[in-house]
């Protein structure tokens, strides 16, 4: 019997707390997208939990009228793992940012992904530390001048999707804060995925890193600069689809003019490829938000979830040895009578 959740509206999913992000912050549109999506997912508020770390984006749970935990810096994937394993009946979302998820909490993120814990992870990437007032982050570009790098950052940045694919995440996608429809569609896909779903969201910090993604996400630039990935379709972009992605003679993914190579030469996107190699190559097409950049679902493959496997071992143990008997346990070593 399928459980049908009572119908809800966006309002039902909004808490009574005043939203305290800076006016104009990209976080608002992400919040709206999630709050608008929830009524469409046939889920119940009481079975939904948002877990976050620390940072601007991590205030998110306070604005959702669900169960929630605003935890400590970087640890949300670890805490959410415990919750998801203990309570497979829950719908657990992780809200994190580029500093929280890729710097202080990088370890927990990659391990949650490799284990395929049943989590929907939204990483708000604004390429800056906002809450601590403007230091460079692990996704900031080389040369970035910030308060902590007055002569420019010398750190090579992470590409979050390359990292996720390196950890063999089973679901990897990217969207951006200026396109609510694309966000909702991407979040819906992530939520439907059984296992760890990782979504990078390009998010504008209008105070400390304004316009970081403008060259690719502004309305007028999108058709030239965003490469939409659609499963089963040749990868094409440009106002008239005149550009595409093909493999060059050395097996590298490259941007080509369709007229030069012909449509048959284009890569047909297959998010279900078992090997993450081609998806990884797609994440490497762009070196920053100033080059044509793929968005959408890069990878969506099935693998048993961590929680299901743990649950399976518990059930197997119970059917093998029966439910636990404490007296039997205490006398399970060698015993003697006096």
């Amino acid at each position: 019997m399928t459980d049908v959740a009572p119908p809800t509206t966006k309002k039902d999913w909004s808490s009574d707390q005043e939203v305290r992000w800076c006016p104009g912050c990209g976080d608002y549109s992400i919040l709206t997208a999630v709050q608008m999506l929830m009524p469409e997912l046939n889920v119940r508020r009481e079975n939904t939990v948002f877990v976050s770390g620390i940072g601007c984006s991590s205030r998110f749970p306070y604005y959702m009228n669900t169960y929630g935990m605003h935890s400590i810096h970087g640890r949300a994937p670890a805490i959410a793992t415990g919750l998801a394993v203990a309570r497979p009946d829950l719908d657990v979302w992780v809200i994190t940012g580029d500093g929280d998820g890729l710097s202080i909490g990088g370890n927990h993120l990659i391990h949650a992904l490799r284990r395929n814990v049943n989590l929907t992870i939204l990483l708000f990437n604004n390429q800056i530390y906002g809450l601590t007032k403007g230091q460079y982050s692990p996704t900031s570009e080389v040369g970035k001048v910030t308060k902590s790098t007055p002569f420019g950052s010398v750190d090579w940045p992470f590409n979050p999707l390359s990292l996720a694919l390196g950890a063999e995440a089973t679901f990897v996608a990217r969207t951006h804060d200026l396109d609510r429809k694309h966000m909702m569609e991407t979040f819906r896909r992530a939520h439907e995925h059984k296992g760890a779903a990782f979504v990078e969201i390009f998010q504008n910090c209008n105070v400390f890193n304004d316009g970081a993604f403008e060259q690719i996400t502004a309305k007028d630039n999108r058709s030239h600069m965003l490469i939409p990935l659609e499963h089963g379709r040749p990868i094409r972009f440009g106002p008239d689809g005149e550009k595409g992605v093909a493999l060059d003679g050395q097996g590298r993914a490259a941007i080509v003019n369709v007229a030069d190579v012909g449509e048959d030469a284009l890569v047909v996107h297959d998010e279900k490829r078992p090997e993450p190699g081609l998806a990884f190559m797609l994440t490497r097409l762009s070196h920053g938000p100033y080059e044509p950049t793929p968005i959408g679902v890069f990878r969506a493959v099935e693998r048993p979830t961590y929680g299901d496997q743990i649950q399976r071992q518990l059930l197997d143990a119970q059917s093998r040895s029966g439910p636990g008997d404490l007296a039997k346990l205490l006398s399970s070593g060698s015993t003697w009578e006096v």
């Binding site: 400590i72 415990g82 370890n107 743990i310 006096v338």
Partner: protein
Amino acid sequence: MTVGGNSLTDTAEHPLQTLDRVVIRFAGDSGDGMQLTGDRFTSVSALFGNDLSTLPDYPAEIRAPAGTLAGVSAFQVSIADHDILTPGDAPNVLVAMNPAALKANLKDLLSGGTILVNVDAFDERNLVKAGYEANPLTDDSLAGYTVYEVPMTSLTLEAAKPTGAKPRDAERSKNFFALGLVSWMYTRPVEDTLQWIAARFAKTPTVAESNALAFKAGYNFGETAELFDSAYEVKPTHFDPGTYTNISGNTAIAWGLVAAGQLANLPVFLGSYPITPASDILHELSKHKNFGVRTMQAEDEIAGVGAALGAAFGGHLGVTTTSGPGVVLKSETIGLAVSMELPLVIIDIQRGGPSTGLPTKTEQADLLLAVYGRHGESPLPVVAAKTPSDCFFAAIEAVRIAVKYRTPVILLSDGYLANGTEPWRLPAVEDLPEISAPFTTEPNGTDAAGNPVYLPFLRDPETLARPWAVPGTPGLEHRIGGLEKSDPTGNISYDPANHEHMVRTRAAKVAGIAKDIPPVEVDDQEGAELLVLGWGSTYGSIGAAVAAARAGGRKVAQAHLTHLSPFPANLGEVLSRYRRVIVPEMNLGQLSRMVRAEFLVDARAVSKVQGQPFKASEIQAAIDEALESLQSEARA
């Protein structure tokens, strides 16, 4: 007597001397199987009915260079016909499998004690490796001891010949030869060990056979070699009737957690990262999935406690196990649990520090870390186990407090308790304490408009515990976190007065637990002016020292703490009854500092930080010294 088809000579032909207690130390290379040998001797002695206490002592390296002092691994066991509290100050018998084992352990041996050496290992090369300039077996340096030189390696090789095993493999059975010999010397039953060998090595029949043959050869050697004047017997102890098992502290903690989960009707969730000497709890709990116990080997210490806290938010009994270095890494998450007021049990099997310190050795230097080691005003209850079997009850007590008061609790054990064993009379399951952990399922307040709402920080007026509503409960959706919470909504609040109110309330909640724990009991003696106060694993050594001091006509009182935070309500009054308080602890004076600060008493630390438990004689000396100083003060 015939065992397993091979005859064993009957010890009855030898004269038998009766001892009330013997302390034996098996020592050899880390690869010689000394822990296994000691463990086996312990098990048969337990089954035989002796009281016993053990002290494994091994290096951090898995296989340090063979033959060197650094690689010596030892296992001390004391067996007695009466109730004993410690594994003994000094061994009566040392089994030394090579020169390094002799050199490393000789200083501890009782003067006039017995040494059994594997003489085959005393060649030039091994003597040099151990740093001997002359062979101690021939240079008269062991004149004060009774030395038995036994060619254990060659006799083992000879015995194992029928198996066809290569000499290099057969030689590894020599620990069973030693076990057989000592089993003969102390008239231990053999059948159980032979069965155990067959079962343990069932997958490698040649090894099983060669171990069994070596064991029998060792046993028969004792009887026939005409080397030994007599065998010894240590009669069974008088125990209270019941079913007994021999248990280590780590196993007792694991079982205590399983029991607590059953008593509280909460599924156990362990998030843990491997660390010496705590890993065995993870190993043991991983076996008990049929109790619904979930274990997760996390990517690091922080994830271990994080996952446990996440599970606690979901209504599970969240537990993490570690040692000192891990506690430090977990501190921030423990602080989050203090702030969010969720039940969580953190188990610290203390080892020598700071830093990596002495991973395999014992210490009690994490007490201040446990009580105070977080940023901000972050009080939490701390419970300490005092013996290996007490670890079972201490784990249940830690869970009881955590669940009842919605607070993280730190349970302190240490390397000595973790690996040490003692006979334990199994408790009746129905006698175990009840743990009540009701979840809140209904709204507990109304909003301004009069609608029912859930107020996550509306406390029980008696315990000050907040309600525990878990995800999945309709209508009680709420958010908690590390930011300061408004009382009672849990919403973010930066209000100055609210913060002070919440800080004080959290502290009052923990302090109030004093009303819910038993008063400290004093083992008093009429006219005693000196109190020996202890906590944790020093219980055995202190008890033995106090008994010895009283036997010598001295007046001493003893008290031992299980609850270190908060202290039992009567502790201040108890301390004030004595002119002098001494506190033996394996640190530089942590409990003594706490009671001085709390009660303004002249408590004096008796410190030992050598990675080894106190000898009773060391504490006895401290008692004598304290009594003398009291006398000389009285004279002055």
